[in-house]
């Protein structure tokens, strides 16, 4: 028998029921939400030991010598930076995709997080793919059509692409070095010739072979062309040469003509010339017009473009000993950045906005770096032996200079700014000087 319920009592019971159900719902929600809610742990993992990144280079054709050469060059390129540790593995060209993915997964378990697969394709092509072995996904891949038979050019190009994918920075493996090496002619007379090589000093090639002294090679900023000075009968001429050994005389004024430098767009040239006056001045050549930039009684040498309106150079007009200056082309304003000592051979890196030069410290020429942003000078080297003609790598992580170990011994050396390690690039018995590091050109500047 259903008894009538007072309406107010009914309302009250309803509210109580609602509250009860809400509580149960709340508890249930808590039970579900709490386990689903992500636990955020912010860990500052400091003090972790940095190490080289392992990478496996997989050659998908064990019988192909060309691929083997390319793999070896890539391995050498990556290990030059001291940031990678690579090993080469060769597989059958008919390996299936499943088997290949298994191999890649095995690499992940072995502690190798990266794998670079290279193989040849139809119609004279080379293909490479960079894999993340942990997730078994492809990070980057490209296919090239061969246009010459030099394998190392392909290898350097692949290494540049892999470097850019992994680090986010442009590579420098396709760049080249130009330098002078002393030798003796048939009469026993000392002559100096210009050589070029790969960025690590390998594959040396003679570029300028004339029976005279050639010095101060400088790369063009846009195209693979070298500007150097050669001793003539009455003067020192500024000459340019292509990779096909096609020469062209640039400046043949009386006296000394040398040390050419180009603006970022490649359209403006600045170099130093004495014109028989006894002091070197800087001259700017743009759109067929030659203008004098400096006008003092000192020697002004080694000009370098900082940007379209500023030039950094070395001059001794103020103190009698060479100092580093920054001059504005339009206003003519000069700013001295070094204070005292003997400072010479400035080299500018647009990537890092820094100027490298060498300075006499306690009787020894050491390498210095000036930060244009912070205006701070840092000494990089402090060991024995004079260092000359410092030059930046295209990515701004390496410095190249000649290290004079003894009176008749001068070797090319690189300084890695990241790892602080140095490496000799030339042999002990060769006297090498005036090094200059080229940019990375779009085409591969190889000598034919």
């Amino acid at each position: 028998m259903n008894y009538p319920v007072h309406p107010e009592l009914a309302k009250e019971t309803n509210t109580i029921k609602q509250e009860f159900y809400m509580k149960i719902l709340y508890i249930l929600l808590l039970c579900f939400i709490m386990p689903i809610n992500a636990d955020n742990i912010e860990l500052s993992v400091s003090g972790a030991q940095q190490a080289r990144m392992p990478i496996a280079i997989l050659v998908l054709d064990e019988t192909n010598s060309e691929l083997s050469t390319i793999a070896n060059v890539i391995k050498k390129d990556l290990e030059f930076t001291d940031q990678f540790q690579s090993n080469i593995k060769k597989y059958n060209p008919h390996i299936s995709k499943k088997e290949l993915s298994k191999k890649i997964q095995q690499l992940a378990h072995a502690g190798t997080p990266l794998a670079l697969c290279i193989n040849t394709g139809p119609f004279h092509t080379i293909e490479w793919r960079l894999y993340d072995t942990i997730q078994c996904t492809m990070l980057q891949g490209k296919k090239y059509k061969k246009n010459n038979t030099i394998e190392r050019a392909w290898a350097h190009a692949i290494a540049d692409e892999v470097w850019k994918t992994l680090t986010g920075n442009e590579g420098f493996f396709s760049s080249r070095l130009a330098y002078c090496k002393d030798s003796k002619d048939e009469n026993g007379k000392n002559i100096r010739k210009i050589y070029i090589s790969d960025f690590d000093g390998s594959n040396e090639e003679l570029l300028v072979d004339i029976p005279t002294i050639t010095i101060a090679p400088r790369w063009h900023i846009k195209k693979p062309r070298l500007f150097y000075s050669e001793y003539a009968n009455t003067n020192v001429q500024l000459v340019s040469i292509s990779m096909k050994k096609e020469k062209k005389t640039i400046s043949t004024f009386d006296g000394v003509n040398m040390l050419a430098s180009f603006s970022q767009d490649g359209k403006t040239l600045v170099y130093c010339s004495s014109r028989g006056n006894g002091s070197c001045q800087l001259y700017r050549y743009k759109q067929g017009e030659l203008k004098r930039f400096t006008n003092n009684t000192g020697n002004n040498v080694s000009p370098v473009f900082l940007d379209d309106s500023r030039i950094c150079f070395c001059s001794d007009f103020q103190t009698g000993s060479p100092q580093i200056y920054i001059g504005n082309i339009e206003t003519g304003h000069l700013q001295r950045i070094t204070k005292g000592g003997y400072c010479a051979s400035p080299s500018y890196c647009p990537k890092t906005n820094k100027i490298a030069y060498h300075k006499m410290i306690q009787g020894i020429m050491q390498v210095m770096v000036y930060d244009c942003a912070t205006k701070e000078h840092i000494q990089l080297t402090n060991n024995s032996g004079n260092k000359h003609e410092v030059s930046w790598s295209p990515d701004g992580t390496q410095l190249l200079y000649s290290h004079e170990q003894a009176k008749n011994k001068s070797r090319l050396m690189t300084f890695n700014l990241i790892t602080k390690k140095t490496k000799y690039l030339t042999r002990v018995q060769d006297y090498c000087s005036y090094p200059h590091w080229s940019p990375c050109y779009q085409m591969f500047p190889v000598v034919t």
């Binding site: 636990d39 860990l43 990070l139 986010g168």
Partner: protein, 274 residues
């Protein structure tokens, strides 16, 4: 289900201390000292001496002296003090009752006996309470003096009893040294959570090897789920560092490490910084 969440930035290299509520560091040191002092107090045997012979004390008072001697070490010292001035005590003799007259005949030696204690339980109980407090600190010698006064009154001895010396602590107590950067919490769960985080961080530091040449400002955030077997699943790059090899090195560290038990069945987000 145990939930673990740390959202604030924590320096896991700092030590972690659990401090119960209402217990500051200094007070805890004092408490430790007192507890040690209490433990070190041991009842010593009291040998009978002739100094507390009935000559100096009335017969009634002898049992009281004996009972006192059996309970505490202080009584030995009291005896020696009392014996030095027997004459004063004789002058100030309390009128002897019948019981008192009978007692000197016994001339009982001052030996510890449970029977003696039982005869006058009141006095023994009073005495038992106070010495426990007074042996802890030298500050509480006033209580000893009170006891001695009570004893003197009961024994009709007005000679002040020598204060009881505190028991020498054979064990040295070192104060708790809490470093400045230490995490102190009174929440046991929070402490456990911090310790779990420290364990995970140590493991990660051991396994993770960031690549050379990467900017120190690089950071990446990775979220993942750990299943019941301890393997990582559903790994996602929440925030990339912009440098592929940095992200890859962080992922490699996660896959190479053995996830601790408390992470099983949980979602985690870890921020990698250099």
């Amino acid at each position: 289900m145990h939930t673990f969440s740390i959202t604030k930035k924590v320096d896991y290299s700092a030590p972690i201390f659990f401090m119960p509520l209402g217990v500051p560091t200094a007070a805890k040191v004092v408490m430790n000292q007192s507890s040690f002092a209490q433990k070190q107090i041991t009842p010593t045997k009291i040998t009978p001496t002739s100094t507390l012979a009935p000559k100096t004390t009335p017969a009634i008072k002898q049992p009281t002296t004996t009972t006192i001697a059996t309970n505490t070490k202080k009584i030995e010292e009291k005896k020696t003090v009392v014996s030095k001035t027997p004459t004063i005590i004789e002058k100030k003799n309390v009128p002897v009752t019948k019981q008192e007259t009978k007692q000197p005949e016994k001339k009982e030696p001052l030996k510890t006996s449970s029977a003696d204690i039982k005869e006058k339980p009141k006095i023994t109980q009073e005495i038992q309470k106070e010495p426990v407090q007074s042996t802890v600190h030298n500050k509480e010698h006033s209580s000893c003096d009170k006891v001695s006064e009570q004893l003197a009154k009961s024994l009709d001895i007005q000679q002040p009893v020598a204060p009881i010396q505190a028991v020498k602590e054979t064990r040295k107590t070192h104060p708790i040294h809490v470093p400045e950067n230490a995490h102190i919490s009174n929440n046991y769960r929070e402490v456990e959570a911090l310790r779990c985080g420290t364990q995970l961080q140590k493991e990660l530091v051991h396994k993770w090897q960031p690549p050379i040449g990467v900017s120190p400002e690089c950071t990446c955030e990775i979220s993942f789920c750990v299943n019941t077997k301890g393997t990582i699943e559903n790994l996602k790059m929440v925030k990339s560092s912009g440098v592929v090899m940095f992200d890859i090195s962080a992922r490699q560290a996660l896959f190479s490490m053995k996830m601790p038990q408390w992470t099983h069945g949980k979602y985690l987000t870890i921020n990698f910084k250099q």
